[in-house]
Symmetry: none
Subunit: 179 residues, 4 copies
DNA sequence: TATGAATGAGCTTTCATTCAT
DNA sequence: TATGAATGAAAGCTCATTCAT
């Protein structure tokens, strides 16, 4: 993750990764089928963890808007706590489609489903407007979160408080810009 | 653009691009210094065009919320009219930072500035809430737009109407989910 | 000659030569069959001129040792007056055998013949020792001259007087080091 | 060495060298940084060996003229025993300056210093004339040796005895042509 | 299990040469 | 005659992957 984060998938040599891990190049291939597989395994593992943490963050909360705020905060906390992972997921996730034709990224689909589900709940609770389809809203929200994560990850980290950003996004998505 | 869009920067061979363009490999190098330069030139050229169209789309409109809606619609129209360009910009833009360390991407910065400026206007007009900093809101909005563009570009195009999506994002960002 | 001298045969691009000559690349090919041919023509032309000047320098002189001294001086004068030509001939001449398999360099053979002839005369005049075969002595003398030409051409030109060097070589070859 | 000798630096493809060595192309790059580095390493290695052998050949001999004769014989013996090396050093050494701007060739400088030192000794012993500067005489002698080595290496080897040539050069340089 | 030297396919880039204008 | 844009073969180098130890 450290190596992919700092050099990107194509820039990262298998030998760089082996060096960073303190093993020989060949050893990598005892645990992963290929460099592609290495990145995919990373995705899977991280997304699994992320999905779990995000789901847990909303446990025991009933109101959809509270859930959404908690989700957003938890997501941003994850980003700030796992800089490298965030960078890899944020950036390489996109490119992956291009060079790993066959990989469907099921965990990311899970992620989006969770988010859409919360919004759907809100709509059923009568709290959220129903004219925007939940999957679209979920995707838009993810885009916003992802972009700000990228901004945080590539920018000077000390420039702004990621907790505040989380709340701003919560306000934006729940109440909108118009006051 | 067609080739980068379908294979990604690293997957696209210079000879693929030359083939697609109907010229010899060497001819590429009469017009571009390197493969990197080719992608960068593409960015610059497209972003310049995009920025121009987006600015023009809001001309003669006073209210910031109207401006924002027009901006969003124009952006989505551009995406649907320039599938390949959208794909390249959406995806390669992110990766670019990793493999083109020195490239600052000034046109994208312009893009964000335009968007932030509209939001700032809305705040000064008293229409938009002032607790969310304009650059953050702009970035979040771009993330949402970009993500939906990606969804449209990589998904089955006929699945939903991009115009409707534009309006949904407008509603979401201006009024929020909570009704 | 200027371009070959400063960059070497392989380092010199045809377009560099065209630029230096103030013509288009294609124009070169109206006058020379190929880049190889260009260098060969240069050799031929220069060596012809050199051979002529050297032969003339010894005209009307009878004693072989006087002839040899005059030859040496004339050679070194040529080198100092035609820096670029000297550089090309001195350096590229050697490499030529490697990459221009078929080129026999007849003018250089003429050059060596002239020199060997003078030594042969000296031997017949009873002035020069006969135990050293004239062609070997000629070749050795050329080697010495060539090396000093190279030294002069690649070194700081102002460091020593090429006329003096010529006389030193004359003394060395005629009288030897032992006093 | 074999490949550089038969095709020259530019004519020799890295894959030719790998083939000749019985390894894969990539293997070359585990041991040498680049094709340039390969040639430079060859120079260094050979010249080191040559300098050592030449120095040793004169050990225990006091008179400078004896030393010089031994040096010349040893040099020619080396040439005849290491045909390919001689060819590479003789020819590529010259061209090297043109395409390897930064390479200073320190071992060749050592070689010349050794030779000049012997001549200087002869002058101090009162055996050699002092009007010819030792470095100039050394360079001239090297030129003669180098040229004859080239002649031997590129010509039909059986045409003359390299030992005899060595002695002729010894006579020429020590006693001169004039009898 | 772990190693790391060896592999060799594959890619970007260069540049001598051509030829339509 | 002159041009110079276009060509495309060719070559140096990289690096994911293998496999004997």
């Amino acid at each position: 993750m450290r190596v992919f984060a700092s050099k990107g998938f194509f820039g990262a040599k298998v030998s760089d990764i082996a060096d960073d891990a303190g093993v020989a190049d060949g050893t990598i291939y005892l645990y992963f089928k290929s460099k592609d597989d290495l990145l995919i395994s990373l995705f899977e593992q991280q997304m699994l963890k992320i999905n779990e943490i995000l789901s847990r963050s909303m446990e025991g909360v009933a109101a959809a808007d509270d859930k959404l705020r908690l989700f957003i905060r938890a997501y941003m906390d994850l980003v700030s706590a796992n800089r490298h992972a965030a960078e890899v997921i944020t950036i390489e996730l996109r490119t992956s489609a291009k060079f790993m034709k066959e990989y469907k990224n099921p965990r990311f689909a899970d992620f989006l489903k969770t988010l859409a589900h919360v919004i759907d709940e809100g709509q059923k609770q009568g709290r959220f407007r129903e004219d925007i389809p939940a999957p679209i809203a979920a995707r838009a929200l993810f885009g916003a979160l992802d972009e700000l994560a990228l901004m945080w990850v590539t920018g000077r980290t000390d420039r702004f408080d990621i907790r505040k950003v989380a709340d701003w996004i919560g306000d934006l998505v729940l109440q909108g810009l118009v006051q």
